[in-house]
Point group: C2
Chain length 211, copies 2
DNA sequence: GTGCAAGTTTGCAATGAGTGCCAACTAACA
DNA sequence: TGTTAGTTGGCACTCATTGCAAACTTGCAC
């Protein structure tokens, strides 16, 4: 993965990684707000000014990779069967997201989850990327089902799905961590009820069309 | 409304109002980021330090009153009929929101809408209050229907409703003109589209918008 | 290799939000 | 008239973030 890079790119990737790692260390030890960008840069052995050549803001450290949810949804849309309804496609995308362990680099993911609960600016940022992802999914879904969905309906559909899942998740994760299995199950149960009007009844991938 | 206040409260209310008005003037003239808190305080004829005795952050200027959506939802829950389902109650709450002119103080509301589109920190803040309102509604709804809804399902249900409406609304307002009339119209269209799946069934709300 | 252009690193100086501290001031009330 | 509690606003400070410019490095061509 590090091969095929020019020296420049290689060094750049290393510095970036050093910044992320240093930040994770300090965040874990001292918390988000107590850690200054100057601290992070120093720990990564670069000048403070250099930090901003890699990340525009402090929050960006916690949201590095492209969102896995978006990719899952894109894949689900791309891999749809000829008789799938839009709602079925979304259901499949969401179950994929539930499956994979949230996302890569578990260290950062854990910190992100923690600071979303603790730090307003991080929470705001998370909600913004979620909103962006949602809009992007809606756009692609409408493209994939030009006969069934106009842009507005697609956005409403995706909003309902994502809203239901995140609503349930917020309550489930509010005070305390739990084992992933029971969370997944609880989310599925709750969203099944909440989304019944959109989905029809017992719909599963390959099952009867709803709506 | 200004009566029955002590002199102290009266002055405090006046200063607060002066700050909001000054901010609105400057925001309209120069934009959000170009206006500094020092500017606003000066225009309101108070010291910069005093500003922070009234608003904790600059964004707070744009989100002053308690959210009207929350009140509408609380009213709808309180005024439910003996045979209403949770979905019917939510439906009525959201139609009320659609009805009344978005919310009070149209000046600020317009600025808010503008800066939610333009300024990330404002957008983040808006999403956070929305998320909070949503959770609060879910909590109360679950309380009102202890037999039908557990906390998680309630959160999923509210998330689905609100997510659908805001998803649709975002698309409708995206590039869009932002004159007051078209906003109102967009809200109506969004609720109509977003709530369609629920309206078709056993739900017959008192004041629901037609499709 | 040499050397130039493009990309990178940093220090320095600013700006602006937000906070702690503290002294002056004022409404509330006995 | 005092005492007390709430309000005001100056000062100094921390931090994120940006613009600028000089010193370096790497990529690439000759």
């Amino acid at each position: 993965m590090l091969a095929r890079m020019s020296l420049r790119e290689l060094k750049r990737a290393r510095t970036r990684q050093a910044l992320v790692t240093a930040a994770a260390d300090l965040f874990e030890r001292d918390g988000y707000e107590q850690t200054t960008i100057a601290d992070i840069a120093a720990a990564a052995e670069v000048g403070t000014r250099t930090f901003f050549g890699y990340f525009a803001t402090k929050e960006d450290l916690l949201f590095p990779e492209t969102d896995g949810r978006l990719r899952a949804a894109i894949d689900a849309i791309a891999g749809r069967g000829p008789h799938d309804t839009p709602a079925q496609v979304l259901l499949r995308a969401l179950s994929i997201v539930g499956d994979d362990s949230d996302d890569l680099s578990g260290r950062l993911a854990a910190l992100r989850l923690r600071f979303i609960a603790e730090v307003p600016s991080v929470r705001g940022r998370a909600l913004q990327t979620q909103s962006d992802v949602q809009q992007e999914i809606a756009r692609r879904l409408a493209e994939a089902f030009p006969d069934e969905l106009d842009a507005v309906t697609s956005a409403a559909l995706v909003g309902a799905f994502v809203g239901a899942v995140t609503g349930a998740l917020q309550v489930l994760l509010r005070d305390r961590p739990r084992d992933p299995g029971s969370v997944q199950e609880a989310v599925e149960r709750a969203t099944a009820v909440a989304l019944r009007p959109w989905v029809g009844h017992d719909v599963r991938p390959g099952g009867a069309p709803g709506v």
